[in-house]
Symmetry: C2
Subunit: 290 residues, 2 copies
């Protein structure tokens, strides 16, 4: 399946040259951070950010610090999600999870540090008009706080989501959706697009987040351990609410189709003259097998 | 002992009206966040920020969002430090630690959320010239990342500090010093002070951070459980490197006296026409009993 590999390579190269520690005393935590950050993956969030820049007529490379920060934040969330007190996952992308490899204390701190360094990167390295940069960084903070990613993870581990499709949508909109939205929206804010365009891109990003999660839930059931890089069926074993647990596999697959269609339509409205890389990512998210 | 209580009250009032959750599903994590954030304490970091504003001739209240963010970051660091995988402290400020009261998973997430909401607060509520606000927020990120607070905590839990006074100073400069520096320096950046003044205020803040830590180490040995709000002697039981373990109690007390003197001299240089509230805080940090 086609994927904007040229953007992914730019992201990968940029991530690989990142260093954080200024002295030898903290090289150990840097090692744990890079172990998780450089474990591969499709880099969907930063690639989305670069593709959004492209769709806005801006050189994708110009948003690399912001894009890398999105991946660092994603990586931090995976490290904390995997902890014994949370989902207790020992495998991540086919390798021992951060806390298995480095110990629980270092894993907690490596996650904390990735989040701090993500903000440092955006605030000190991302070039932009200052007010726009403030808006983009504020969006990152909002997307990852109580009403975003961390709040979603809280709803998930505590099982406090509201019954029915609405509760499920709220859970997932926070847990994974907000950071995917932010990958599109923060770039729009950075480039200062007008309000109408922002609304249209946001509608696309929200639908993309929903699509991502439905497919994720399906893959947890249908994927092999090897494809997923972690044991399949873990949602079910942990009694998590997913689109599959809520609707069954067949209905969830139908919902994914509807969501894919809606995301494509929203994208066509946001970028009427076409946005081939965002189209590729949208199709990839719908059809991926891991 | 005198303390700028009028500033502390402003901080306390501001902290008490903070709310984070936009819906009922995440009220539980907000409760855990506020449990730790509103557990009292001298609020040294935000009071330092307000007093620094005062010393620069600015209305202290104008930096309340930044000041509150400093306390939220401090609170997040205490929650994560207390976790079983870290220092495993069950008491904090005389109350059960966050993970004892709410469970380890919620405590990890409450810490993460406080950190995210601290950035959100600064980036969306702190009024300032945009470039200066970016500089202040960047300072917060740097002070809390690998070369700041989290890196210091890593050095501490892993016991990888360099032998001798220099290693001890590096450990503490990161673990507690950087956030205390940031409480002064981020306000200087927000107000756009010139380079010479910034250097002078920074010299004061660095010495204040050292003083804070020496006294903290002494109090861990000499304080009562009740005064400290946690069991005294915990550093020693955990085999931590402190000024007392390194130099003995008598010599550490002498070092505190020297550091107090140096902090006062640095302050006189930074604020030649006087800065009564910063002087009060400096004396308080030197003479406090908990």
């Amino acid at each position: 399946m086609s994927y904007p590999d040229e953007l992914r390579e730019q992201v990968e190269e940029y991530l690989q040259q990142l260093r954080f520690s200024e002295g030898p005393a903290t090289e150990g935590i840097e090692e744990a951070m890079l172990y998780s950050l450089l474990a591969g993956g499709k880099r969907i969030r930063p690639v989305l950010a670069l593709a959004t820049a492209g769709a806005l007529g801006v050189e994708p490379q110009s948003v690399l610090p912001l894009a890398a920060a999105l991946e660092m934040i994603h990586s931090y969330s995976l490290i904390h999600d995997d902890l014994p007190a949370m989902d207790d996952d020992e495998l991540r992308r086919g390798k021992p999870s951060c806390h298995v490899a480095f110990g629980e204390d270092v894993a907690i701190l490596a996650g904390d540090a990735l989040y701090a360094e993500a903000f440092r990167l955006v605030l000190t390295k991302q070039e932009a008009e200052p007010l726009r940069l403030l808006a983009a960084a504020g969006e990152l903070a909002a997307a990852t706080g109580v009403n975003g990613m961390v709040g979603g993870q809280y709803i998930d581990v505590e099982g406090v989501s509201v019954a029915g499709p609405e509760g499920l949508r709220e859970l997932h909109s926070r847990k994974t959706g907000k950071l995917i939205n932010a990958s599109v929206e923060s770039v729009c804010l950075l480039e200062g697009v007008d309000e109408e365009r922002l609304v249209n891109f946001r509608a696309f990003a929200v639908e993309l987040g929903v699509l991502f999660q439905i497919v994720d839930d399906i893959l947890d059931v249908t994927g092999s351990d090897q494809e997923l890089g972690k044991p399949s069926g873990s949602d079910q074993r942990q009694g998590k609410r997913t689109y599959v647990s809520e609707f069954g596999l067949e209905e969830a697959t139908a919902l994914a189709g509807v969501s894919h269609q809606q995301a494509r339509e929203a994208l066509a409205k946001a970028a009427p003259s076409g946005a081939p890389q965002l189209e590729q990512i949208t199709d990839f998210i719908a059809k991926r097998e891991s």
